[in-house]
Symmetry: C2
Subunit: 455 residues, 2 copies
Amino acid sequence: MENRDEIFERLNSLLLEKKYADFMHEIDELNDIDAAEYLATLPDELMLSAFRMLKKDAAAGIFSFMDIEMQESLVNRMSDSEITMIIEDLFVDDAVDILEELPAIMVKRILKLSRPETRNIINKFLSYPEDSAGSVMTAEFLDLHKSMTVSEAIENIRRKGVDKETVYVAYVTNASRVLEGIVSLKDLIFASPDAIIADIMDTDILCANTLDHQEDVVAMIRKYDMLALPIVDKENRLVGIVTVDDAIDVIEEEATEDIEKMAAIVPSDKSYMRAGVFEIWKTRIPWLLLLMLSATFTGQIIASFESKLAAIPVLIAFIPMLMGTGGNSGGQSSVTVIRGLAVGEIENRDVWKVIWKETRVALLCGAVLSVCNFIKIILVDNLLFGNGVSLEANLVVSLTLIATVIVAKIVGCALPVAAKKLGLDPAVMASPFITTVVDAVSLLIYFAIASIILL
Amino acid sequence: MENRDEIFERLNSLLLEKKYADFMHEIDELNDIDAAEYLATLPDELMLSAFRMLKKDAAAGIFSFMDIEMQESLVNRMSDSEITMIIEDLFVDDAVDILEELPAIMVKRILKLSRPETRNIINKFLSYPEDSAGSVMTAEFLDLHKSMTVSEAIENIRRKGVDKETVYVAYVTNASRVLEGIVSLKDLIFASPDAIIADIMDTDILCANTLDHQEDVVAMIRKYDMLALPIVDKENRLVGIVTVDDAIDVIEEEATEDIEKMAAIVPSDKSYMRAGVFEIWKTRIPWLLLLMLSATFTGQIIASFESKLAAIPVLIAFIPMLMGTGGNSGGQSSVTVIRGLAVGEIENRDVWKVIWKETRVALLCGAVLSVCNFIKIILVDNLLFGNGVSLEANLVVSLTLIATVIVAKIVGCALPVAAKKLGLDPAVMASPFITTVVDAVSLLIYFAIASIILL
């Protein structure tokens, strides 16, 4: 098992010494992903020459694993016939992914160069809504007829399987392309060669519709440990499949999106390293602005209490701690519930169970924090720093703490569930939003308790 | 495609009417996951009776998809011979997963009832460190000899493949079990029946070591679109494989863990709905306590400025907004970098590129926020609420805002990278931690600017 860096170096020296035959042989030994990574290390002109040395049947696959910048640079430098060859060899889902990223003028050129059938199917795939099953599926699946024998089916796979995204699952369709059954290559291998497909195919079909959300598609693939999920149109006609490797990419993408939303970032398709400063700014500023403006409420609560705060200034010092602890407590609950909803562990009907659980957790957390804070104020604030916090003030802070944690945790778990019920995205109800709500609530509690005990 | 609920209802009535033969036939038609879900709807005693009606070769598979509570209840009620049968039929990885969750006394009973070979391999698998490749792999892979012909290999798969986790990839090992090559079922189907395995096997082997982290394993499976990754021991002997469906579970688990860490929760293996209140409390309280205590610094900064704040009380009202915006800005940057590091998009060498990018984004964000805030104070705070914020105070707040956003974003992106360099987990450096740091810094900036302009 040779180190990939060593292979890359050997490829470099073969290129340098113009030993092109050896180079072609060596790069052919690499898998497509590593070959694409190697080409990425070359300067543009050399990359084009190296790309032209690739075997015809490998070029499209390697092309599909390249960065969009490399693809763009290649398309710019390739001849019309080269482009035609690549686009015809690409899997439809890869072609569509690439076309969605390229500048409009290039897309036009590429579509003009492709065969009418290819152009039609690409245009159809491009028209599926973003994040739909249709937008992540590919059209290259194996189809069989139910009257075939097993050995005919295997022969069929041998003939047509080379260009398919997977040969391990084949789909049985009728004359109007309606999906009737599924046969795995395992079934075929284990069956007698003379058996009829209709007798061995699985008719308990799991499939999704082109317009279903991609999250539902990957949830099925994950739940049922599938290698591919068939996608049908409104008339139950098979139009594509989503394979497990594409499902993994969707899972990563959806997790990143949820994490971004939880951090008050507007999700973007463009990866961080490729996005420009202005593009990143556009994903960050909306929430920052909204949350900053909504802090006006918190400010107004403090402003209305200003004269009293001036009388007991020691209370001011604890505002950040109270708001911080409230925000963190609420954030913990909201993030737990958001993730639970996303992976399907928590369902709508669990709402009261969750609120009841969070209330008890909040009581436990609040009690411990409150006691620790009470002791800390005596030991650290008073004895160590000599801040002279009175017992009454200490009591106000500690009581506020327990009340804030309880409110924060209940708000934190209730808002995402409520958002989901209203058809909104629960992930938006994460820490930053909760924090703003909890900030205001905790100040109101603080000043209310202070008014009772101190004033 | 019949609705699953309808099937479940029909199964219920067959059970009720004691039509056991029909029931056995119907439940056999279901896939293992749905069958496990159906059994979960039955009361304990009925579930055991229904479980006993399952076909022998399906029982273990269905058992592996049950909740741990159901598995526990079944093991408690099953006879010794039934337990032996199940444990021998389970895939090793599933058996190990179940044993890790069951109470110690049950584990002892199960291990005593299993065959010595099974017991040995289970004990070996149980000894791999948590989150290692060894802890997620399974032992049921297909191995072939390189001297076999293709038709012999297919015959071999037909004979031994039933009990294997996948039949689509087979591994070629020598007499000392060292991995020499990989053959996919696709390769076998496409090759001539007389071809020798040694000639068609892929010797450019991608594999991982038993002690590698599971994150590295799933990263390889994702990058190279693999159906299974072979796992070798220190002597390069093949000991197991990680299949793509298990990789998906690991990806979900790792994403959840990262999200929990980002929300100041100590990750736990137990799912939220199954964990008790006390168990959840244990995952929440450590960070809440630590962050609360560290807010002492923020409090101390305010306390030391108390007399001046009492003189210009209008400054107090903006503390929550400044700290909130700082925390949100820093959180955005830290979460982006943490996720980028986790999915491998950002690497250690990118650190300066990232800091430079974040600085420019921060300047843009800070400038916009600052201007908006300046105008908002004039329009809302002064004209609408009549708070009487002086132009100088407005300037102090707006200047602090821009400085805070810049510091927050730089700290936010630098800390996760620094954590990774030190071998710590970057995810811990997310919003709550950043917020505490940024809170203190923003107050220092606030009071410094106030001292210059106002006092």
